[in-house]
Symmetry: C2
Subunit: 258 residues, 2 copies
């Protein structure tokens, strides 16, 4: 295949490929439609499969494609807007959002989380905290997996007897949390890759790109809980406001006019 390299084209092949595929996706394919398999596509464009895959990876990262082993590559629907606005000042689980408590254990949090909580974070014998695991569902599919860390001191009235672990215990911890007066919360978003455990719940492979939303819950003048939620980066658009279901750019082209 001639590389069309007439001049001034030090552009990587996979980058050019990505553009071509992106345009084809816009014009010739419908959402949900399956593409030809990678070997055929590579042959068609006259490149090695690895190069073709590099282009597909980018498109998947941008939420344009969805690839499933054993099945094929399909055109992804537009990203779904997921509200993570902080203004509500409610405890997790309070509203009728789509969070489902899954489990609750006593665990030693990662050092970074321990540092945010007020618990002593001695590397040797860190204090264990209640660790609630939740899944967030939207439109019937999982979009986020969360670990909510709650020091025992934040929920003093929790009875340890009637449900030592499991989903019921998780609900109990959330119930106790909601009895506290929430003074505020602050939140951050960063890119990460899914741990094996989260990946399974999100129906993705380990290492899949995720948006990590870290929330610090503040009450009684201190940090009483920390939540680390990982959202599927391929399918989610996090919204902070009332623009829930607007359609937003996926890296659209821009034509200069002046």
């Amino acid at each position: 295949m001639g590389t069309t390299q007439l001049e001034t084209a030090p552009e990587p092949k996979y980058w050019h490929l990505k553009t071509v595929l992106s345009d084809a996706l816009d014009s010739d394919f419908a959402v949900g439609e399956i593409l030809p398999n990678e070997r055929d596509l590579a042959a068609r464009f006259g490149v090695a499969r690895a190069t073709l895959r590099q282009a597909l990876e980018q498109l998947e990262l941008e939420g344009r494609l969805q690839r499933r082993r054993g099945v094929g590559t399909t055109v992804a629907p537009p990203r779904v807007g997921v509200d993570v606005s902080t203004s509500q000042h409610v405890w997790p689980g309070a509203g009728d959002d789509a969070w489902k408590p899954v489990d609750c254990t006593l665990a030693v949090p990662p050092v970074a989380v321990a540092r945010m909580l007020d618990v002593a974070a001695d590397a040797g014998s860190g204090d264990a905290v209640h660790t609630v695991r939740r899944i967030r569902m939207t439109h019937g599919s999982p979009v986020a997996a969360e670990l909510l860390y709650v020091p025992a001191g934040s929920v003093p009235e929790l009875s340890a007897i009637d449900a030592p672990s499991g989903a019921i215990r998780a609900r109990n911890v959330l119930r106790e949390l909601q009895r506290l007066g929430l003074e505020g919360q602050d939140r951050s978003v960063e890119l990460g890759s899914a741990r094996a455990e989260d990946a399974k719940e999100l129906d993705r492979l380990p290492g899949a790109p995720v948006l990590v939303v870290t929330t610090r819950y503040i009450a009684a003048g201190g940090t009483v809980a920390v939540s680390v939620a990982t959202y599927r980066a391929d399918t989610c658009r996090l919204t902070f406001g009332d623009s829930g279901d607007l359609e937003i750019s996926h890296d659209g082209e821009q034509r200069q006019a002046s």
Copy 2:
């Protein structure tokens, strides 16, 4: 090639490698230190260079490493918290944030942006809008590149004569914007890959992962401007609150205790 597959090891090599490297990074390396080159590392671990690179890519995605062509791979500093809180209700450029106006042209916005603005978005002859280009600096290095789309109708008093384009024109548009009463804004965050143009300003390669922050500015009951800002995903952590410089997890391990 012996795959060391003694038992129960359906774990990809690159994934295991990533873990090993990550631990080594924590214990044996200081921020800024340069790692051995890829060929040496691959040989040392007995894998192909491509496999080694797959692990390095993941670590770079998580903000642990920084790779520069012609130079080498270095240990990245912790991500810098960048405030993007929406509560201030100020126009862009109002406070003394680190945004630098770079340029301003008349351009046809991407269809997704045109749809958010109230301008008609006929595919054939879309209305051109003022397109302000800005760079956000933090600690002396660029962290974000923005395109701010302002329909001509939003800044009626702008005189087109005294600065038809360039940084001065950009400042004029911003000044006119600030005369409007801002009623609100909503914002969304999603994963994207840097366009060639943005990548250059961010000192990254095209396709580098970025966090795309789309903001809709609302005044006089309508959308009067739209901003699409791309933040370097490798070095930035977006914060929504007053937790500006806390240290947050980068995918830390978690030890179960119960």
